[in-house]
Every structure is written in C-alpha cells, then in structure tokens.
Amino acid sequence: MPAAMRGIPAASPSAPRALSFDQRLAAGLFALLAFLPLLSRSIASSYLLLVGERAVIFAIAALSLELLIGAGGLVSFGHAAFLGIGAYAAGIVASHGLGTLCIALPAALTASAVFALATGAIAVRTRGVYFIMITLAFAQMAFFIATSLAPYGGDDGLSWPTRTMVLGRHILKDQLTFFYVCLALLIATYLGVGRLIASRFGRVLRGLKDNETRMQAIGFTPYLYRLTAYVIAGTLCGLAGFLLGNQAEFVSPAYMHWQRSGELIIMVLLGGTGTLYGPMLGALAFLLLEEALSRLTEHWKVILGPALVLTALFASGGIAGAIAACRRRREAAARAPLTLPRLVRHLLGAGLERSRSCRRAGRRLFLRPAHLCKRVAEKARAACAPAKMALGRGRQALASLAERGLKTTVERWWRR
C-alpha cells in the first residue's frame, strides 16, 4: 500500500524540519508512556507498570515485524520464535552465571541474528503464502527444540537466576529503571526503523514490495535486500525477547508458540501497517484490551475475537487507517459544499463569535431573530447560488423555447 507509506518521509539531507503527523503521534505516545510510572504510583498499583512494561516490549517486537510486513511485504508467521530465542539465549547464559549485560545481550542478539540468517536464507526464496508457512515451520522447529532442552527446563521453561546485571550491579531489578530502559529502547527502535525505512535500503525494500520485476530490471537483487531486512527484524525481535525474559525472569517454549506469532501479526494489523505509530498503538491496544477484558470476564476472547473480525471487515487499515481516514474526512470537509448540518454549525460558530465580541466590547448580547434570519438567508442564498444559476439557465431556455413556440404558432396562424 504505497499510499499508506506517506507517513514516512523520504530520506533527505535537509537538517531539522517539522515533524510529520506520524512522528508527532509517536512522540505523543512516548510522552504518555513516560508518565505511566507517575500514574501507576498515584493509584498505588505496580501492576499497571508491569502491563506497561509488557506493552512497551511488545511494541518493540511489533515494530520489528512491521519492518517485514509493512516495508518488505514479508508476512512472517514465525516472528515469536525470535522472542523465545532472545530470551532463551540470555537465560541460558545467565543460568551458567554469565548474566551480565555485556555477555547476555550480545548472546541474545547473536542467537536471533544467526537463526534469522539460517532460516531466512531459505524462507526468503519463497513468496506470499509459502513465506507465511515456511516461517511458521521454522518457528515450530524452534518451539520443539525448546521443549526438548531438558537441561534448561524443557517443557516447563527456564527460570532465570536473576535479571541481567549491568556492570555487576542489579540496576535492572528496579522496576522504574527497567521501565525507562524499555521505553528508551522502544524509542531507539522507532527512530532506527524509521531511518531504515526512509533510507535507500528501505526504499528498495518498499519498491520490491510494490513491483519486484521492475526493481530487478533496474538492477537490484531482491534476495539480498529481503534477507538483510529479515535478519535485522529478527535481531530486533530478539532484543524484545531479551527484555521479555528479563521482565518475567523466566522463559518457556510458550514464548514461541505459533499463536504468539499470530498475536504479533494481529498487533501490527490492529494498529495498522504502513505507519510506524500503528504497530506500537496496536501492541498497546491489544495488551490493554486483553488485560481489561480478562478482568471483565474469564471468557474475554469471546469479545476480542469478534472485535478482530469487525476490525478486519470494517476498519481495514486498523487504528492508523481509521486515524488517516478521519484526517482525510476533515480535510475534505474543509472543502466540501454547504449542507444543512454545516450551515447550522457555521451559524452556531457565528453566534459564539458574536457573543464573544459582544462580551469583549462590554455589551450584552442581543441575538435578534431578525439578525439570525438575515444570516440564514445570506447563507442559504450563498448555498443556493449554483442551483439558482442552473434554474435561471433552465428558465431562460424554457422561455426562449416558449417564445419560439409562440412565434411559430403565431406565424402559422398568420400564414393561414
């Protein structure tokens, strides 16, 4: 969807410029998230912060998937594998007493990157549905490998001895610090993915999505670009997995279950692909909905399921699509011809303005009926002008026709 890509500006060397709508929304989102700890303290519930942490971490994963889906057109149905691999790599390292940042984080990232490279080398050769299925297959393999990792918990999962230590200290143990670290990484991911999509590499990737043949004709090799994108996205998702494992201090094969991969896709779609704020909003919305609905009823999926169906049916483009449509409608409304509701709104606005100006002048407001009538008539006349013009033209034509008719009749009579 090339039109939806409008939110992402083309790379230009020009220095500071006004933020695009996409960027302003994202900035607002980050600002809101930054205030979350304050809110959670004010209602004395650290649980809210936990949900916020998960949302931020999943937003990173959703962004990495958006790089594949939105920019690359590669719908990966196995993206959750990277969540699990990142968490398992860091957890396994930690269980051997090496859970420090300078070992665990590189381990998580390297493991995800290697897995992405190995599986991507095969997966990227396929297209469309086959790509969906082969990524699913690889994720299932990772899932079954994890269940058989008997020394590291197997089916039951692996409990981390502790969160990753930074320079030998338990800095990440502090909930507030951990939240802000996650948020900072989310912002960094957002900026990085944004730059990447806007860069030459990203433009080639988007071009391949739109028309592969044409891109090949002008000399690009699709395979390498797609594989690179796949490895980058996998590594980023491995980062999210690293954070997720840290948050729970636990990792289990369930991290890689295919339904988790499905949920990641749902997050991206719910938010709206083609923008960067969309997937983040989608991750937030999905987790908050899940949280809120599961408090409401044990059978919350009965509500969320139809909601997803309705989103697919009626709100194609997700939240971002709805926002874009809303903006378009407003822009169109500014140019639209006058209708009765608009007239009423306009009159109300005029009345308000008048009352304000009266108040400013220190006078009492007299909204005389005659005045109102005059304004209505004015507006109506303005609105009717085109119709009147058409009517006038019609009348003229009619008159001329009648005149001609009369003339011929008279002439006929005369001749007779």
Binding site: V75, R125, R127, V129, Y130, M133, I265, L308, L313
Partner: protein, 308 residues
C-alpha cells in the same frame, strides 16, 4: 522395534494422514480457488467433533448423529461464509488472517463457554467396535479401519467429483484463474459459497470421525490446522492430488517419527542423547520435510497448473 508394532504404527499414520486429507482438502480448495487464507478451518474440525457429541446426546444413535453433525457443520460453514468470509475475498491476505484469527478466538472460547473446558467423549458404535486380526498376535481396531476406509472412499469420490463433473471442472478452472472463469460467465460467488460450505463439511466430517477416538476439547483444531497447512503447502496449493499424497506422507512420517525416532537415533548416538533429541526431532520432522520441499520446489510438489 518389532514388525507388528511397525505395521500398527503404519496404519495409525495412514489414519492420521486420511484425517489430515479431509481437513486439508477443503483448505486447499478454499485457498486455491478463492486465494483465501482460512485460519478458522481448524475450528471447523473442532466444531464437527462437538456437534457429533451433541447430536449423540440428543439421538443416542451413532450414524444419525454423524449425519446431523455433518449437516450442522455444512450449515455453520455456509453461515460463516455469508457473515464474514464473503466480504473478505479479494482483500489483502493480512485482513483475512486478522478476521479468521478472531474467529478462532471466538469459537475456541465459545465452545469452552457452551460445553466447558473438560474433554468430552463419544462411544464407538457397537457395529464398529472390536478389532480384527491382522497377523498372528496382532489385532487392529475396526473403527480405525473404518476411518481409513471412509477417508479413502471420500478421497476417491472427491477426486471423481473434481475431475469429472461440471462443478469440479469449474473448481479446477477457478484454482487456475478465477478471474477468467468469472469473465466466462460463471457465477463465481456461488461457486465460492459451494466450495466453502463443502470444505467446511469435510473438515467437520474429520472432526466427527475422530470424536470417538480422541478427546473432544477446545483447541483441538489448532494443531491439526497447522498440520493441514503444512500438508497443502507441501502438496501444492489448490491441488487435491497433492493434498492427498502430502497428507499421507505427513501422517505416516509424523506417526512413525514419534514412535521410532528415538530408537533409530540409538544406532548412531548415545542412548541418553538419543532420548533427548529423539522426541524433538520427531516433532520437527514434518516441518523439516516442508522446509526441504519448499527449498527445492518453492510452490510445493504438485502446484495447480498456471500458478507459479
């Protein structure tokens, strides 16, 4: 690893393959003809099993309840098509994934809501209970034979239907080029509805048949859905023949792998290592198969002609 165990497992694999074929046949047609990713196909299988149990509760006779369940799953498939899927043909695959994922959520939970989370059972009918001797000292349950026989019959019927009837011809033509079929004056919408309802009924039929031998529980369709997707991707999307061969292949490999992989690995690895790696490798075997097939033939073994 005795020969008799091997034969039994081979039959079990064949039976799983037949069931997979019934689910995958509908999926591959819906996929091939309508270019529609139906993740909700697995829940239709689950629903078939539940409907059979419910119908059995009402009627108390096996064969009548099978008939009722088939009818009900056909109607339910048509209802779903009318309400949701019809509006998603020709749309982006992603939207189809979103909608059908929502339906999975709804139905899995809805089933839990209606029948509870505990697994249900359904008795095997007297006519099909018991077992027959296969070799000396080896007996195999009649019901499982019945499943295999029914499945093969359905597969043969389906093959005849697709290759030698008018509707079958349209289905094949639709799988190759739906737009052209529509341009030639065929009511493609109605064809889609027929194919969809039929596919839903086949999946429901598979569910009905396993109801007496597996526990009927929410989420039972999810695993078979993934397997069915593996089958249709290996077989080539839109191809009934490919689906049949791939289903049998996947069923046999999965079953044999699960029973013998550890033993086979013992020949080359230390017993403890084999015990660790064996089950994982067995679970992975079909995905490995799929990855290999796709790496060699990116469009599956028997792609419908005209589709790259």
């Amino acid at each position: 690893m005795s020969a008799s165990l091997f034969v039994v497992q081979l039959f079990n694999g064949l039976q799983l393959g037949i069931l997979l074929f019934l689910v995958a046949a509908g999926l591959t047609l819906v996929f091939g003809v309508m270019d529609f990713i139906n993740l909700a196909h697995g829940v239709q299988y689950m629903l078939g099993a539940y409907l059979a149990v419910m119908a059995y509760g009402f009627t108390g006779t096996f064969f009548l309840s099978v008939l009722l369940a088939l009818l009900a799953s056909l109607l339910f498939g048509l209802l779903l098509e009318l309400l949701v899927f019809r509006h998603l043909y020709g749309r982006d695959h992603l939207e189809q994934v979103l909608a059908t994922f929502g339906i999975i959520m709804l139905l899995n939970q809805g089933v839990k809501l209606l029948w509870g989370a505990a697994p249900l059972n359904m008795p095997i009918p007297d006519l099909l209970s018991g077992s027959v001797p296969l070799m000396d000292g080896l007996r195999y349950p009649v019901y499982r034979f019945a499943i295999i026989a029914t499945g093969v019959l359905v597969a043969a019927g389906l093959y005849l239907f697709v290759t030698s009837t008018r509707v079958g011809m349209l289905v094949r033509a639709g799988a190759t080029n739906a737009a052209m079929v529509s341009a030639l004056g065929v009511d493609i919408k109605r064809l889609f509805t027929v194919v969809f309802g039929f596919g839903a009924m086949l999946a429901g039929f598979a569910g009905v048949m396993v109801a007496p031998i597996l526990s009927v529980e929410p989420g039972m369709g999810d695993q078979i859905l993934i397997l069915a997707f593996v089958v249709i991707v290996i077989g080539g999307i839109g191809s009934i023949r490919g689906a049949f061969l791939a289903a049998v292949l996947v069923g046999v490999i999965d079953t044999l792998g699960r029973s013998f992989m550890t033993d086979v690995l013992r020949f080359v690895l230390a017993p403890t290592t084999a015990r660790v790696i064996g089950p994982a490798l067995a679970s992975m075997s079909i995905y490995l198969l799929m990855a290999v097939v796709l790496a060699i033939r990116p469009a599956g073994l028997f792609p419908a002609k005209g589709r790259a």
